[in-house]
Structures are given as structure tokens and as C-alpha cells.
Point group: C2
Amino acid sequence: MSKQIIVYGGRGALGDCLVRYFKSRNFKVTSIDLKENEQADINITLNDAENLEKQAEFITEQIQSSSNGEPVEAILNVAGGWAGGNAHDKNFIKNSDLVFKQSVNSTLITASLASKFLKEDGLLTLAGAAAALDVTPGMIGYGAAKAATIHIGKSLAASNSGMPKNSSVLTIAPITLDTPMNRKWMPKADTSTWTPLEYIAELFYKWVDDPSSRPVNGSVVKLTTKDGNTELSYH
Amino acid sequence: MSKQIIVYGGRGALGDCLVRYFKSRNFKVTSIDLKENEQADINITLNDAENLEKQAEFITEQIQSSSNGEPVEAILNVAGGWAGGNAHDKNFIKNSDLVFKQSVNSTLITASLASKFLKEDGLLTLAGAAAALDVTPGMIGYGAAKAATIHIGKSLAASNSGMPKNSSVLTIAPITLDTPMNRKWMPKADTSTWTPLEYIAELFYKWVDDPSSRPVNGSVVKLTTKDGNTELSYH
């Protein structure tokens, strides 16, 4: 029987990379996103117009039925977009609302899923951002949404958070990911400082496959890439 | 001509105390809340069913017309409620959604208002919580919403955040406020460690009246009350 994982945001660039990577390692992969990922074994397709509570209920019911009570090895949350803007930006409220919905709502849902479906010593990863480890005056909503995500990750790693016994919560904090969209929008950037998606897929696979390789529970794992080499630091 | 301030959450216990206090000092006071505060000069009454963007637009239009282009001395945000629950709590998603709406949405709106209406060297205060300075496994949504508020406060104090020149952003981080609701729900608690609302009103008044008395811009101001005496520490 295949081991199973859930990728939240499985239709994004990083999510798609994770779906393919874990499929190649013979995992049964569930993708949760606004659109289907054809590579996934199971797709849970969200209706963005539904409120958070309805979305959470829908996803929970779907996983309840598709997981057949089998343990989930890992829930990998890579959902979320970027939006800039300081407090005086004309789209400040709209963009902040959007990034909170993308980042925080998915973080809350995956925390809830982990408390219900993750196996003992399973892994939950959350999508933070290196920028949110400092102030973010030029992208206030984005930085605050990622700071909230980081806070949730650290809280989930503490006692009595509702997480399964011996499970781990790790929040990755990338600087810039090497995605097609980032290449499109920043055509002149030095991509040797961008973190390859495959690197993250391998890292997550290692953490899933060998729990002893995981950083301390609750760590924020910053990914710094230089000359194509990525190093990790813990916050 | 009276100086004017805006109290966001003017119908709550602390908000009502602020409205009365600043009225007694001859300020023109605008209260923003779901219900009117009869003591206020101007009330902006929100429809909770509206989305964040609509609420922000409505408030901005109302203040545009009621402020008559006169400078706003201070915007005091004391909105927000409390809800507990770890990730396995049956109301985890619902309660987290609620506290984010109460705390983060009001924080975003007041940040936007400050960028538009606050005078140079004016004051914006935000409603943080001492609990959010550490992990909050038993109240994950609440702690994360307050962590986001704290992040926004620090970001607004940095360069190019959109805030008016020489203005200050201070985020208060109380432990427990001495409100009628807290007395009702925690009847056996030691209230000598609860911070009196009047103390905060006097503190805010001092900061408004004398900018040189303010802590460093961007500070999180923790209020610790012992034997009825409150001390401040900065984070």
C-alpha cells in the first residue's frame, strides 16, 4: 500500500513540483487547490467564493472519505501569493485581504487537517517567507500574513496544540523561489540566488522519509541560495 | 477649535473609556464600531456583513466628510475580541476566522486611515496582546492574529511605510484588562493584576498631548499590573 501525503496548493509551481516528486517516489498524493493537478491521485478542488469555514468543512469531508482512515505521512502547505504595498497604496486593503486569505486561511486549514489526519510522527510544513523575519514596510499585508503563519507554526509545535504525538511542524522561509512566474516578472534578476523547487522537494522528501533528519520541531527554516547552492538556517 | 481623535472599537469597554476620557479633555471624538457610542461626537457604524474592502471604503468616505480636512491627532485602535482553541478544537477554524477579522481587519483599516488622515507627528495605537509575544498553543488563532498586528505595527514604524512624517505607531500588549466582561467570566480571578482601563486612557492622552513622552516608534508596549500598579516594558 502506498504511503499518502497531502499537498495544499498542488497546482502552484512549487506544489506541482512536490506532487510530481512524491508521485515518482510512489506516494499516493492528494492535491488541494482551486484547480486540479492531473498528476495527483486525488484532487480536492476549492471554490474560492466559499468562506473559510465552508472550505474547511468541505476539505475535511473529502479527506475523511478519500483517506479511508489510512495514516497521512505529511501535509505540505505551499499555498499563498505575493502582493506588495505600503499603508498608503491604493490597493493596500484589497491586497492585504488577499494575501491573508491565501496564506493564513490555508495555514489554519492545514493545521486543522494535521490535528485530525496526520499520523503520529508525521510532518506538517507551512509556507513562511524570509522577509517576514524582519519588518516589511513595503509589503505590509504580505509580511504580516507570513508573520502570522510563522506564529502558528511555532504554536503548533508547543505542548497541547492539538497536533499528533511526536509530529513535527516546520515553516519554510524562502527568499525567492525559482518559479516560471518569478522568471517572467523579474527577467533581469540574478537567478543564481533563487532557490530551485527541486531542492525543496528533496528536502521535504528527506524530512518525510527520515524523521531524525528534521530540524527541531517548530523551526522556521530559512533557505538561502548563493551560486546555485542552498543553505538552511533555523529561526 | 477642538482637536480630533478617532477611536476604532469605541463601543467596547476600553473604547468607551477612551471616548469618555478624551471628551472630558475637550477632544472631538469619532467612534467607529458596530454600534453607536452616544458619548462620541461622530459615530461611524459598521455593517459586519460587508467585506473588508467595502468597510474600509465606507469608513474612509465618512471620515473624509466628517473631518473637514482638519488634522487628526490620533487614531486609537482598541478593537478585537478573544477566542481560545488549539488546532483540534471543534471551533478552531470558526474562532480563528473571527479573531482575524476582529483584530487584523481593524488593524489594516486603521493603518490605511492613518496614512490618509493622521497629522504629521500624530499617533496610531494598535491593539496587541502580551500573549502573542510568545507561542500560543491553546489559543492559536488569537495569538497569530495579534502577532500579525504586532508585525504591522513594527512595519508601519519603518521607512516608506506610508505613514505621515514623524508620526508614531505604538502597539499595546496588555495581559488582562479590567473590564466588566472579564469580571463576569473570571469572577474568582485576582483583579489586582488586571490593568485598569483608565490607566490606558491616561497613557494614551499623555502620548497624544506630549509626543516627547512616547516610546520609540514601533514599540510593543507591554502593560504589567501588580498590586494595582501598572508598569510598561518595551518589546
